[in-house]
Symmetry: C2
Subunit: 519 residues, 2 copies
């Protein structure tokens, strides 16, 4: 209370606070090599499949409609909106393509979709798909997010503007268009396909491991895992990430209880003069977790697991730096920011992105948030928080660290609920599937800059760790504004654009399948 608290207070943190752990400069140690990986040295794929390309060109209208069908089907996993219908739509499309096996796969959450296309080929490719999408933002959309609208963008050309257009329905259905074209012309794919789609990627894929477990023995026999993706920037450049960060997504909640505050419902705001407030507690608990700029986590041990970049990561980082620096202005414009975190240089942000975890507040909610002034003392407050984990960090470890830190800070009354959590994933650039993808990019004159990893997350650990398979997420084409209003994918680029349209994206997928078969 008053006196006690004041005595304890250096302000918002308790007296027994350990000295904060400064965020380690990323990379943790100086690089031991200045060598830069160069994807241009990978031989370009030489195969030509003109009859298939011609088929693709002749069927563009139909192929575009396939994408529009997919984005028009709502599938918001967080709100269980259209999920079942989308799963059935995906299965129906696999059946129509001639997959010998298809199945809606039950899980403890939203169902998965399995498909197997046996072509008696030597090699087998696993295709990862997600069929769910993010919720819709209440404002900011200039079209109906589920209408499958075609919009003429003055800079980009004709785009498909819809939730899921680029994350991830667009490229996924474009890949299936490519498969359909090969089958129509050649009657046979050069590789066998296993598809295992999930409907909970945007929830952090809590049950994808269950789906994997059901097919683990068969999936392990494959040669690699592929995730179709619009990899091109507006300038046509491509980055290929060799890994992803993990994610730990939690809710921090405070409520009235034995430590004070109303337990069952909000009360009149004037009662604050004699009551404790769970909302103030949440504000202090959050503030105790980072430095005042919100950019360094103060939880002891948070940064300890970070290992120095290995040789391959160093070579890849050296390789992407020039491109990263060249793109700085475009990146600032895309994110609408005046500066980088804490005034960092562009080079520093590359290393932060690759080698350090991020710590973010996704949402805050308590009490009255409507128009005007309503005077209440809320009985609870919630913060949604996520950590993007680098290799060696685990959800279990973070839960332990955060719980004991909050307890030590006097925030035992703050409840931690994990909504999702999985570790990072990594693939070596020397894997045949990776070389096939890079070779195919080189054929199209779009030599990729190969990233050690993405700052974003995906449940790829199930492939790289559980199945021990290399994973490639790649493709020609461009889209953006995923998780934001007016998400889009380019369909017919403006003349002179360096971005591939839908047809060329499909041809890339065709060549990739052959390149893998021949690798």
């Amino acid at each position: 209370m008053g006196a006690g608290a004041v005595a304890a207070a250096g302000g918002a943190r308790a007296a027994d606070t350990p000295a904060p752990t400064p965020r380690p400069k990323a990379p943790k140690t100086p690089f031991s090599t200045t060598e830069a990986y160069d994807a241009a040295k990978v031989p370009a794929y030489k195969g030509q499949h003109k009859d298939v390309y011609a088929y693709i060109d002749a069927h563009q209208a139909e192929h575009l409609e396939n994408l529009r069908r997919w984005v028009r089907q709502r599938s918001i996993s967080a709100q269980n909106d259209g999920v079942q219908e989308m799963a059935r739509l995906v299965e129906a499309d696999l059946k129509a393509l001639g997959f010998q096996e298809t199945a809606i796969v039950p899980s403890s959450g939203h169902p998965g979709v399995w498909g197997y296309l046996d072509q008696k080929a030597k090699k087998t490719l696993v295709v990862y798909m997600m069929y769910d999408v993010q919720p819709i933002e209440p404002t900011g959309w200039s079209v109906d997010a589920f209408a499958g609208e075609l919009v003429d963008d003055p800079k980009l050309g004709q785009v498909l503007m819809a939730r899921g257009a680029t994350n991830q329905k667009g490229p996924e259905r474009a890949f299936l268009n490519a498969v359909a074209s090969i089958l129509a012309v050649k009657k046979k794919l050069p590789v066998n396909l296993m598809i295992l789609a999930e409907g909970e990627e945007e929830l952090g894929s809590p049950h994808y491991p269950e789906l994997i477990a059901k097919y683990e023995s068969r999936l392990k026999t494959a040669d690699g895992v592929f995730f179709p993706m619009n990899s091109q920037t507006p300038a046509g450049q491509v980055t290929m990430p060799m890994g992803v960060k993990g994610i730990w997504y939690i809710e921090l909640e405070t409520r009235g209880g034995p430590q004070g505050g109303p337990k069952e419902a909000e009360v009149h705001g004037s009662h604050k003069s004699i009551l404790d407030s769970p909302v103030w507690r949440l504000a202090h608990a959050l503030a105790s977790l980072t430095t005042p700029d919100g950019n360094t986590c103060l939880v002891p041990g948070f940064y300890d697991p970070i290992r120095p970049p290995n040789l391959e990561e160093q070579r890849l980082a050296n390789g992407v730096l020039p491109q990263w620096l060249a793109d700085e202005a475009a990146r600032k414009d895309a994110l609408k920011v005046d500066r980088w975190m804490g005034g960092m240089t562009a080079e520093e942000t590359l290393y932060e992105n690759l080698f350090n975890p991020s710590f973010n507040i996704d949402g805050l909610a308590s009490g009255y948030t409507g128009v005007g002034a309503k005077t209440i003392l809320p009985h609870k407050a919630v913060a949604k928080v996520d950590v993007r984990m680098v290799p060696n960090q685990t959800p279990a470890q973070l839960m332990k660290q955060f719980r004991s830190y909050l307890d030590a800070q006097g925030f035992a009354d703050v409840k931690i609920t994990q909504l999702s959590g999985y570790p990072a994933a990594q693939t070596t650039v020397e894997a045949p599937l990776v070389k096939a993808a890079i070779g195919t990019f080189n054929k199209y004159g779009v030599t990729p800059t190969v990233l050690p990893r993405l700052a974003g997350s995906a449940p790829y650990y199930v492939f790289t760790d559980t199945l021990k398979l290399p994973l490639v997420t790649a493709g020609l084409g461009h889209g953006s504004r995923q998780h934001a209003p007016d998400e889009y994918m380019v369909i017919r680029p403006k003349p002179g654009s360096k971005v591939a349209g839908l047809a060329e994206a499909e041809k890339f997928y065709v060549d990739l399948l052959y390149a893998l078969a021949e690798a």
Copy 2:
């Protein structure tokens, strides 16, 4: 950034933080008198108006319908929902009662309603009314908040359960029922009435001073101001507050800008690794404002204006302490709390309530607050905050103190927007109107405990300071859950209840008017 911030950080507050001001023990200085004010010593009002009482009893059904008409008319000022219609309804009722003057009074906000009933009487009473109500809570209502439902409460008897039932439409319309009854039987009131109703009380009465200004010269000629109120607790006890605290209601907002963070829209959460976050900034700004328990404001000078309780306030406080202590269990049960703020004793909370300001967070909003996990980095965050001010604190003073403190703490990027603000108000217990009210309570055997002031707020300064008139808020009857789900007013109390029903509440108002005329 990183290093800098860490160096500066004792954690969540900047290095140049002044030592926190401990909340002064309330009262600031020891009382100089142990004398206790005793309302029982005020002579009970002796008048009898049996014909009027009989009329009231005979017209209960009709009178109840008047209350239901009022609560059925939505009038949510914060959402401009039904406000105009309610203003017209109030004016129409005054016309119907025979007020010679009635008017809808335009203001810069919602309109006021004026009415003057000239009875050629010596004394004139100003009746303050509010015709607006709070927004509806999304959950927790067991009836339609605007249906005017009559509910049988096992403890209380028949209650009117609706938004506005007790705050404030119920008692206001009950008062008008009393006026109608006198006019019907006696053809004449013992006093002249001036009514000036507002539709923005729940917004902090931003424009009531405009309304007052329009009638100031006439209002100043009155003998006092009366606000009808259900003053009884479930046990039948009455407290009469001689004043109210002021209120300063603000929004604290952080957005992306030159100091970093996305400026125009939310971005993907993974970008936190290279971007600043306005949400973390708000958490730290809030935490910098209080001790970790959220119970002591750290803004320098915040508590300085508090003056020691004067002799009258001391006598009143001494008078109410026994009742306050006796009610502790009931109060805890009503608020659903396990303890008082910071573990205070019941006696300490009385003094906190009376003599210290409160500092409350009414709401928090940022980013994604729906079901499940959505990973975004929001471009803005908002906190709704209110201070309940004691005498000598002013909104202008608080704005200056908070702005310079936040600037000194390194939070110049935190925007402060005042939604409402007005000072405290005080009336002396020696005023004739006050004595008339207490005398009337004594007639009904319900001797009030007279509070120095309420912890809540109302714009009474316009009466006590601008018009220099004594103000009384009083009445028999009971209601509760204002600003919360299932708000109610008792209509027909259970047999044996100590609570007055609607009929007795109306008789009290009748006697009060005569008592004032004879005072």
